[in-house]
């Protein structure tokens, strides 16, 4: 580990921090275009965050210290995940700190903190959001594990950098198992990030929402951190997906040239991924809450089919 590795690592974190709201802005913009609306500017999420940081925080009278601590912890968790996921380079100092399963655990930590914070004020909406969020979580995790299982069957490891390096370097082949798991992963991504078939990020109707219901009591800097963390979570999930299913172009060394190429490629992939998410969100309708288990069961099914096909056909 030399100094340059650490510089690259810190640069990677900064890129994730700055790119996450931009990516969210891009998804929103695509969605608006697809729905024939005039799109908000690309930088709107930044403006929102900046505005929130300047405001006075309003805190409910019966909130505890936990309520004020949670946004920082959630934000910290997401930044940690961003430092670990090989979004640009596979051999940074922190990329070995967690394999895919530990990353899932890290996301679970963030989820539990958000849910507990939502319960802290003690209103009906908060608890309702918390229990729905936890429900989506426990349904999504088995599906996500199956996705990791398939990747691990193909590359004999659950470490994301090793998976990406292996898949990026071996000869091109049709992997129906990987295709199935990619579908499963996309479904989990949508569910975990409160995107449309499961939750609607644009709604503020209390009874139907999940994520927004939990943030109802937050304001100002705390809300800004929560929103930023949500953007980072989406960014992180997309980067995990890219590392598993589209790993080409990731830098395997810390040469400035390789890093630059990887960074540009990452930008390109993200543009496509964002458009894809917006497209899925446009063509699908939001499900009732109790349809969400069926949605995630389908994701689980896709992943299991991928696993079984892999075991039987070796493909």
């Amino acid at each position: 580990m030399n100094a340059f590795d650490w510089v690259a690592q810190i640069l990677g974190i900064l890129v994730a921090l700055l790119a996450a709201p931009l990516f969210l802005g891009w998804v929103n913009q695509c969605r608006a275009w697809l729905q024939n609306k005039s799109a908000p500017p690309l930088l709107q999420p930044y403006r929102g965050i900046r505005k929130l940081f300047y405001k006075d925080a309003v805190i409910a009278s019966n909130a505890s210290q936990f309520f004020r601590l949670a946004p920082y912890v959630v934000f910290g968790t997401m930044v940690t995940a961003a430092a670990i996921i090989p979004s640009v380079a596979t051999r940074l100092p922190f990329t070995r700190a967690a394999d895919a399963i530990a990353l899932v655990g890290l996301f679970a930590t963030a989820r539990v903190f958000v849910s507990l914070a939502a319960m802290d004020v003690g209103t009906a909406f908060g608890t309702l959001g918390a229990r729905r969020e936890m429900m989506i979580g426990f349904l999504a995790e088995p599906a996500l594990l199956m996705v990791i299982f398939v990747a691990s069957l193909i590359s004999a490891t659950t470490a994301l950098p090793a998976i990406s390096e292996l898949l990026a370097t071996q000869s091109l082949a049709l992997y129906p198992s990987l295709a199935f798991t990619a579908v499963a992963f996309t479904m989990v991504l949508l569910a975990e990030n409160a995107r449309i078939p499961v939750d609607n990020p644009a709604t503020h109707l209390e009874l139907t929402m999940i994520h927004e219901a939990m943030l109802l009591e937050y304001s100002a800097r705390h809300l800004a951190l929560m929103e930023w963390a949500a953007a980072l979570k989406l960014f992180n999930y997309v980067c995990i997906g890219l590392a598993m299913f589209l790993p080409w172009g990731l830098a395997t060394s810390q040469e400035p040239f390789a890093l630059t190429v990887a960074l540009l490629l990452l930008g390109g992939k993200l543009v496509l991924a964002g458009a894809g998410i917006a497209l899925i969100e446009t063509v699908s309708a939001k499900l009732r809450v109790f349809r969400a288990p069926e949605f995630l069961a389908t994701a689980f099914l896709f992943a299991v089919l991928g696993l079984l096909v892999r075991l039987l056909l070796g493909a």
Partner: protein, 222 residues
């Protein structure tokens, strides 16, 4: 890891898609979509047959591909669509079991058939022998589709999907059945379809519905 030849990769992918389609049919409640899925399944089979014919040089497989195309992709779906329109059955009623549970049992069925097919696959000498497991799974899941439905129409679709599975199994185990058997089966399916079509009208005339639960009242002791 050594890479398979590209055509085998495509065949494997087709096999995987067939399996996926079976699950789609298992969960689908719109009969119109069910028929469309059946047509897609036929089309995948057709492509697989052509690929296999090209790979092995067995000319009779081209013939059976043509048969598949005309019968399973074009004629039968057309016939079924017509029946649906004339009978007015677009939806199956609520399935007998909850969908998620059925799917999970379906996964266990796949595990069972994959395990079952492993010794058979060891005996076969074809390049596609691994797909036998998928064929068995397709047959069994089609069977499940028939079990979990109430409407006669969806049961017929399940039956046809089962036949597709058998066909695929024969193809991957021994590069297709002898032509004469294949023709016979095709004829059987065709005749069965026509007879069933007549039956549908009879059943509906009798009970004003295609729901098979009415047949339960035909029991002797009631």
């Amino acid at each position: 890891m050594e890479a398979l030849p590209f055509d085998l990769q495509v065949l494997n992918a087709l096999a995987a898609l067939l399996l996926l389609l079976s699950f789609a049919m298992l969960s689908q409640r719109r009969i119109v979509t069910l028929v469309d899925l059946l047509a897609v399944q036929g089309a995948l089979l057709c492509i697989a047959t052509i690929l296999l014919a090209w790979r092995t040089g067995a000319t009779h497989l081209y013939l059976s591909a043509t048969l598949t195309l005309t019968l399973k992709v074009i004629f039968l779906p057309w016939l079924l669509h017509r029946l649906i329109r004339r009978l007015g059955v677009y939806w199956d009623t609520e399935p007998l079991f909850n969908t998620t549970g059925t799917m999970l049992i379906g996964v266990l069925v796949v595990v069972f058939s994959f395990g079952l097919a492993q010794p058979i696959a060891a005996l076969a000498s074809t390049a596609t022998r691994n797909a036998i497991g998928i064929a068995v799974a397709v047959v069994l899941i089609a069977f499940m589709t028939m079990i979990t439905r109430r409407k006669a129409m969806s049961q017929v679709v399940g039956f046809l999907s089962m036949e597709n599975g058998l066909f695929f199994g024969a193809m991957s185990a021994t590069y297709g059945m002898p032509m004469i058997v294949e023709l016979g089966v095709a004829l059987d399916v065709l005749v069965a379809m026509l007879v069933l079509g007549v039956f549908f009208f009879q059943i509906r005339e009798q009970f004003d519905s295609l729901d098979l639960k009415h047949l339960e009242s035909l029991k002797e002791d009631q």
